[in-house]
């Protein structure tokens, strides 16, 4: 399946991926200014830039084949779509027990800062059907959305 991969050698640490991810998953997915300025709580990005310069890279859910979060989820909210492979959290079912955080070896599940106590994670922007916004908005091609072998 296609996933987002970070090419850390080109991550400029600008965190535009975080900004755009937050917007895309906010109440105003098409209006960045409203998303940040109108929404009471700052939207939570589902991608996290790990950074200790000069090293930085964006990290989001790896949508593991063997997704431990889906196995550990006590509520059945965390599911891997058997067709697309995308792991999503059904926030309406999530109870915020953070077992997914406990088992996610990538630390890629966030506690939503938006006030409701649910786990928040990358959904590969599956609802928009196209390129994840983090990839779209990376100014330096440091994020790629691919399922092809990548030479290093």
């Amino acid at each position: 399946m296609k996933r987002v991969y970070a090419r850390e050698e080109f991550c400029a640490g600008c965190k535009l991926c975080e900004v755009h991810c937050a917007v895309a998953h906010s109440e105003y997915p098409n209006d960045i200014i409203k998303a940040f300025l109108k929404q009471k709580v700052k939207p939570t990005p589902r991608v996290l830039v790990e950074e200790n310069q000069p090293v930085s890279f964006a990290l989001q859910c790896r949508h593991c084949d063997d997704a431990p979060c889906t196995k550990a989820c006590i509520s059945g909210a965390m599911q891997k779509d058997s067709l697309t492979g995308v792991v999503t959290n059904d926030e309406s079912r999530c109870v915020g027990c953070w077992t997914c955080i406990l088992v996610c070896p990538f630390g890629a599940v966030q506690r939503d800062a938006g006030g409701h106590k649910v786990a928040s994670k990358c959904d590969l922007c599956s609802s928009n059907g196209g390129l994840p916004v983090c990839v779209q908005n990376c100014p330096n091609g440091a994020l790629v959305f691919t399922d092809e072998l990548w030479r290093r």
Partner: protein, 500 residues
């Protein structure tokens, strides 16, 4: 600590209605002109630190930023410009030589903009380059006086040549003055487009050996990273005597830019200054240049063209003639608008010649002396677009070097702060944090796109003139007319006035 009299050059305007405090600007400004105020929970700016590189403006996701010229107005004085005053403040504070980057930015005449190109009408047809052949292939190197053919075969091989698909090359920029990613971008773009890039004097990084057939390796006074394998690695060797931005001046890569990789490439210890003396200390006279040219030819057994790069200076025609006679296969002349990683301001802005005049003078002289075929002529020093190139070739150049234009294609915004090592675009820096901002794949694509775009434009212009091979433009000054030039300038350029 006394009061500094220096004032900001730029003003950062932040539209608070648009600013979402995402701090992208804070993270992207190596000059720390944007600051996150933890207490206020918002971004603020320090104008004094802004260099107007436009990185923040470009990356701001809400377009909340505008950089303006700082509205400080000294009392009006036609003689004492603000820059003149500010320079004195800086020097009074530091006692230092004013150091800057990029090329001469002073309002000297730009002769390209006083030259007009011809087009075919009625008496001969223009050519449609989209559907008909249009040839730009260019060979650089010494051509034999005449050919000897026997039994349908060449009696003697042509001396080694550089073969270019387009008469454009990326000019010398060393690893050290620009980042490895910038060089990788240019090297890959050169490979893609069938042209050359030039190592500059910083040696050849191990990752770049694979671009050998598109590489010109440079030998400069510091001889950094010069060894037999290096000389063998490229398609040609260039002796750097001077560059347009700082004729007569050496180079100095400060130790802080000599990190591990630069150190390995230049073969000097990490953290030490890389000082390039002003002259080659084995060249104090023209016959010494011959000695060096032939030492390089001898070392590479006459398999590679050896070029010589010089800055355009007053006696350029004679110097070029001498270089041709010293055995150079290619002469590269860099006009006074050529860029640099660092140059003393006064040198950059006051020394040298416009490349247009230098080119015309050299081409004319070499033709008068009958030695134009012995040597190829490459010019650089602020080629800004394909029309400049067409004019250059019509004036007599074989090919052009582009440096600043290439860097602009990679994202350079000409803030002229290359010397600080804080290039926010990852070009003129060795700071790994900044270097990685330039993804060489993107860079290569952009630089290659530029070459392709110009290639198309050159073909369009040639087609308009009814010419379908670049050879027919070379030195074809009848395709040029001058406008707004004095008779003397027209005569040096060897072109007629518009209307003639």
């Amino acid at each position: 600590m006394t009061l500094s009299l220096s004032t900001p050059d730029f003003l950062i305007e932040r539209n608070r209605d648009r600013c979402i405090n995402c701090q992208v600007c804070v993270r992207q400004c190596a000059n720390e002109a944007h600051i996150w105020d933890e207490e206020e929970q918002r971004v603020k700016s320090d104008d004094a630190l802004c260099v107007d590189c436009q990185r923040c403006v470009t990356l701001c996701p809400t377009h909340a930023l505008t950089i303006r010229k700082y509205p400080l107005e000294f009392r009006e004085n036609a003689n004492w410009s603000a820059n003149a005053i500010k320079a004195i403040y800086k020097q009074a504070e530091s006692g230092g030589i004013l150091l800057t980057g990029m090329g001469n930015d002073q309002p000297y005449p730009i002769f390209w903009d006083h030259l007009l190109l011809n087009a075919s009408q009625v008496t001969n047809p223009s050519i449609d380059p989209l559907r008909e052949p249009m040839e730009l292939k260019t060979f650089l190197g010494r051509k034999p006086e005449k050919l000897m053919v026997q039994d349908g075969k060449l009696v003697e091989e042509m001396p080694p040549q550089l073969e270019l698909e387009v008469p454009i090359m990326f000019s010398a920029m060393s690893y050290g003055s620009i980042s490895l990613n910038a060089i990788k971008s240019l090297a890959a773009a050169a490979e893609k487009t069938g042209i050359m890039y030039n190592t500059g004097e910083g040696g050849l990084h191990k990752d770049l050996y694979k671009y050998g057939k598109n590489t010109i390796v440079q030998v400069a006074s510091g001889r950094f990273g010069v060894h037999p394998q290096y000389l063998e690695a490229g398609a040609a060797i260039e002796i750097k005597i001077g560059q347009g931005a700082k004729p007569g001046i050496g180079g100095h890569l400060p130790g802080e830019k000599v990190g591990l990789e630069v150190s390995q490439t230049r073969m000097i210890p990490e953290g030490t200054d890389a000082i390039s003396p002003a002259p080659h200390h084995d060249i104090y006279s023209i016959e010494d240049l011959r000695q060096l040219i032939y030492s390089l030819k001898e070392a590479t057994q006459y398999r590679k063209p050896v070029g010589v790069k010089i800055a355009a200076v007053h006696n350029i025609a004679a110097i070029a003639s001498g270089i041709a006679r010293a055995g150079a296969d290619i002469i590269a002349i860099d006009g006074f608008r050529g860029g640099t990683g660092a140059a003393p301001l006064r040198t950059r802005d006051n020394v040298g010649l416009p490349i247009e005049l230098a080119l015309a003078a050299v081409d004319s002289r070499l033709r008068e002396e009958g030695i134009r075929n012995q040597v190829s002529l490459v010019i650089g020093g602020s080629i800004r677009n394909s029309a400049d190139i067409v004019k250059a070739i019509a004036l007599g150049a074989d090919a052009v070097y582009i440096g600043t234009a290439a860097l602009i294609s990679l994202g350079c915004h000409l803030c002229q702060k290359c010397n600080t090592g804080k290039c926010n675009w990852g070009i003129a820096t060795q700071n790994p944090l900044l270097v990685k901002r330039l993804n060489p794949e993107i860079g290569a694509e952009r630089a290659a796109n530029l070459i392709s775009a110009w290639e198309h434009e050159i073909k369009e212009l040639l087609g308009g003139m009814g010419i379908n091979a670049i050879e027919s433009l070379r030195g074809n000054r009848l395709m040029l007319r001058g406008i707004g030039l004095s008779d003397r300038e027209l005569s040096i350029l060897g072109v007629m006035s518009a209307g003639e």
